[in-house]
């Protein structure tokens, strides 16, 4: 059918005019070239810069330390596991660095070194490599690693782990805003939540930083805007409704949006293309489900925050969502007779 199946019979006997080596390949012969997988990963790292700045400002050296531990561990894990599988090294695609960075930003500042180390190995190994590497994983690798260390080291990762009065940083002296709300019924001001002068995981505190980086990702189309948009709408709707039904003093839907890891999750984690749906319709469903689950876990469960589990649960639903969201082609479905 196509040119690639032709026998190259006359090339050798061609006169001087065709001395240039011409070769064949299937159409299209042009390539957009704007984007490669690697460039997408670089985009994510660039988008994390505002988060990094906010985190450095708030948690100082702890940020550097956790990032170093997680990123190096992720790279080592990637190298070791791809070697074990006898594959070519895949460090160049940049995905391991991104996984390490996302994991680090989701940890408490004072988490012991082995938490990040083990988390990164589980993220890469169990989260990605066992499924067949990049592109094959069902769950977001960083969230798999974080879920593992949360359950394995409840003392180092639980709500109490975030409070470290001896660390010498102001931010670490109080409970995280969502824990304070859940356990003590205390609300945090909107401005601290928005700017990020509160306690929390390294990357989650500043809603502003997450918005800046997240909008960059969406503008680059590295992240699909539909997912954070749907998630924000879902959280706003549910939180707004709950606020009407049973108001809490000093806590509005804007607090729910800026508090905890919601925006970090909505922009950086839920948008991981590998573990999210393919079509715009599916992305809306995925984002809305993610937002709804975040609110469900925040209000109904024992955990103060639900981003991680919301992402993992929605990841598991992606094959189903993909099936629900198959778009109808322009002109309607293929008529059964015509395909025959």
């Amino acid at each position: 059918m196509d040119a690639a199946t032709q026998k190259p019979e006359n090339v050798a006997s061609a006169p001087v005019a065709v001395a240039p080596a011409i070769h064949i390949a299937p159409a299209p012969h042009l390539f957009g070239g704007v984007l490669t997988t690697r460039r997408m990963m670089v985009d994510v790292l660039l988008a994390l810069v505002p988060v990094l700045v906010a985190s450095l400002w708030m948690f100082r050296l702890y940020t550097v330390l956790q990032l170093a531990i997680c990123m190096v561990s992720a790279l080592v894990a990637e190298t070791v596991f791809t070697k074990m599988r006898g594959r070519r090294p895949t460090l160049g695609d940049g995905s391991a660095v991104v996984t390490g960075a996302i994991l680090a930003f989701s940890l408490p500042a004072t988490a012991p070194w082995y938490v990040g180390f083990i988390g990164a190995f589980v993220a890469i190994g169990l989260g990605k490599i066992v499924f067949g590497g990049l592109g094959q994983n069902i769950f977001n690798p960083a969230m798999v690693g974080r879920a593992f260390v949360l359950i394995a080291f409840p003392v180092a990762m639980g709500a109490s782990a975030y409070v470290a009065p001896t660390a010498g940083l102001d931010g670490l002296t109080q409970a995280t805003p969502l824990t304070a709300l859940k356990m003590l019924g205390q609300s945090t001001g909107l401005l601290p939540l928005f700017l990020g002068t509160t306690n929390g995981s390294l990357g989650e505190t500043s809603a502003l930083a997450c918005l800046i980086g997240g909008l960059y990702l969406c503008a680059r189309r590295t992240a699909s805007w539909e997912i954070p948009a749907a998630a924000i709408l879902a959280v706003a709707a549910i939180s707004g409704l709950l606020g009407v039904l049973g108001p809490r003093t000093g806590w509005t839907l804007f607090h729910d949006l800026s508090g905890g890891a919601f925006l970090f999750g909505a922009f950086y984690i839920a948008t991981d293309p590998v573990s999210s749906p393919l079509t715009p319709k599916g992305k809306w469903m995925f984002g809305a489900g993610f937002g709804a689950l975040v609110m469900l876990i925040r209000r109904m469960s024992g955990y103060p925050e639900g981003v991680m589990f919301a992402v993992l649960i929605m990841n598991a639903l992606v094959p189903l969502i993909n099936r629900w969201a198959i778009p109808t082609p322009v002109g309607g479905p293929v008529p059964v007779k015509k395909t025959a």
């Binding site: 059918m1 196509d2 040119a3 690639a4 199946t5 032709q6 190259p8 019979e9 006359n10 090339v11 061609a14 005019a17 065709v18 001395a19 240039p20 080596a21 011409i22 070769h23 064949i24 390949a25 299937p26 159409a27 299209p28 012969h29 042009l30 390539f31 957009g32 070239g33 984007l35 490669t36 997988t37 997408m40 695609d93 590497g133 990049l134 592109g135 189309r221 590295t222 699909s224 293309p273 590998v274 999210s276 393919l278 079509t279 715009p280 993909n322 099936r323 198959i326 778009p327 082609p329 322009v330 002109g331 309607g332 479905p333 293929v334 008529p335 059964v336 015509k338 395909t339 025959a340």
Partner: protein, 451 residues
């Protein structure tokens, strides 16, 4: 004679698609030149979609320019004609750019030929009537198109008389002339629209007369303002309307240009006829006018020879059956950094490994790309970024279709509407992982078992 039908007008756009660099500049300003007659032409007996022709001539027969030398049986076929005057040589088999092996009739060019000026004047020049065409019976127009071996010159080479034959059950209200030329590089339709708009308009009026259409629209992309102006001037007072479309690939596809120009959606697996439209390329319209009013068979066509890898990009009026090498040599040959020779445009054309293939009625251009144009990146795994979904003009999910084709999962292929794919290549153009999506889907379409 033409009344405007009060109907919906499209927005000039279609959803999704891509905008590759246009690169029309290589040959956009090169006027159509007549290629000197080659010493020999080889006329393939199958240059169209449909049944192949059987030869009507024997070895050593003398043939005249435009003489019918092959005729097919059935409705969907088109005869072939001698594109030079000369002597029939021993029939052989040639490989077309699409890889098909077809029988050909070679003709050795004789001493007496039309001069370049005569040829050009005969095909496109002189006066073209825009009134009084009612005297042509609709059946006669379709018959003349068939006798002239007219096929779609846009690339698919579907026999034109089939489109022009009236069907009681499916009336046609609109003739849509396709002057979009959405493939990058190609400029043959553009030059024709600028230099010879009058036969295009006359051809459009004849097509409307044949089909009974009351509305005639010419769709041209907005990157060709000179063509729009030339056509509008030529169409003044005829009722033919020129509509400007957004420059977006694949605007030239029927399933894109009909919604964009007329706000009608062609059903999947159906034809433009299902929504009362007949789509004809502008070059075909000009050839129709020459066939009906001057009795000229389709023996010549305009071909762009362009790209950074060709010494002197040109637009040539060439006889059907000349070899690609003949055209490339006339344009100064390939440059040293030429890397790929493409039959057709760079988005859907076929790469050639051999320049001794013949130009057929469907050849719209030869594009020569350089190493620099062909950024080769290695295929990596799909990260499901969904960019292919974002650009597919038919709203398919190419990555799933390619996966289904690769692993022959026909249930999944059907669930995701594999057969609706038009192979335009937008998905592969944007894929960050450089997955050969189109190739995989074509493979899948060819292998998809019957239900």
């Amino acid at each position: 004679m033409i009344a405007t039908v009060p109907g919906k007008q499209g927005s000039g756009r279609f959803a999704r698609g891509v905008h590759p660099p246009e690169r029309k500049g290589f040959a956009a300003e090169a006027p159509i030149e007549v290629l000197p007659n080659p010493p020999q032409v080889a006329i393939p007996l199958l240059q169209h979609t449909g049944a192949p022709c059987e030869p009507l001539v024997k070895v050593k027969d003398e043939v005249a320019l435009g003489q019918k030398i092959g005729e097919g049986k059935g409705f969907i076929t088109a005869p072939v004609h001698a594109s030079v005057a000369g002597t029939v040589a021993m029939p052989s088999v040639t490989t077309l750019p699409n890889g098909r092996h077809v029988r050909t009739i070679p003709i050795k060019t004789g001493p007496t030929q039309l001069s370049a000026e005569e040829l050009k004047a005969n095909l496109f020049g002189g006066d073209w009537p825009v009134s009084g065409l009612d005297s042509q019976a609709p059946e006669q127009i379709a018959q003349a198109a068939r006798e002239a071996g007219l096929v779609g010159l846009g690339g698919a080479a579907f026999p034109t008389h089939v489109k022009l034959t009236r069907n009681e059950k499916r009336p046609v209200d609109t003739v849509l002339l396709n002057g979009c030329e959405c493939e990058p590089y190609l400029t043959s339709d553009y030059r024709l629209m600028i230099e010879f708009p009058r036969p295009i308009i006359t051809g459009a009026l004849l097509a409307a007369r044949a089909t009974g259409a009351a509305q005639i629209i010419i769709a041209v992309e907005d990157n060709k303002p000179a063509a729009v102006e030339a056509l509008r001037r030529a169409a003044d007072g005829t009722g033919v309307e020129v509509r400007v479309m957004e420059t977006r690939y694949p605007m030239g596809g029927e399933r894109q240009v009909i919604p964009a120009a007329l706000d009608r959606e062609v059903p999947t697996g159906g034809l433009p006829l299902d929504v009362g439209v007949v789509v004809i390329n502008v070059g075909t319209a000009a050839a129709l006018a020459a066939a009906v009013l001057r009795g000229r068979a389709l023996t010549h066509r305009v071909v762009s020879v362009t790209g950074a890898g060709i010494a002197q990009p040109k637009n040539l009026l060439v006889p059907v059956g000349v070899s690609y090498r003949g055209l490339i040599d006339f344009c100064g040959g390939l440059k040293p950094d030429a890397a790929r020779v493409i039959a057709g445009g760079p988005m859907m054309g076929f790469a050639l490994n051999d320049l001794n293939v013949t130009v057929t009625k469907g050849t719209s251009g030869i594009v020569v790309l350089t190493h620099e144009d062909l950024k080769q990146i290695e295929e990596t795994t799909c990260v499901r970024c969904g960019r292919c979904v974002d650009v597919c003009p038919l709203h398919l999910v190419p990555t799933r279709l390619a996966l289904a084709s690769r692993y022959q999962d026909w249930d999944m292929a059907r669930r995701y509407h594999l057969m609706a794919c038009c192979e335009c290549g937008c998905c592969a153009y944007v894929c960050p992982a450089a997955i050969p999506l189109v190739q995989l889907m074509r493979m899948g379409k060819a292998q998809l078992p019957n239900e």
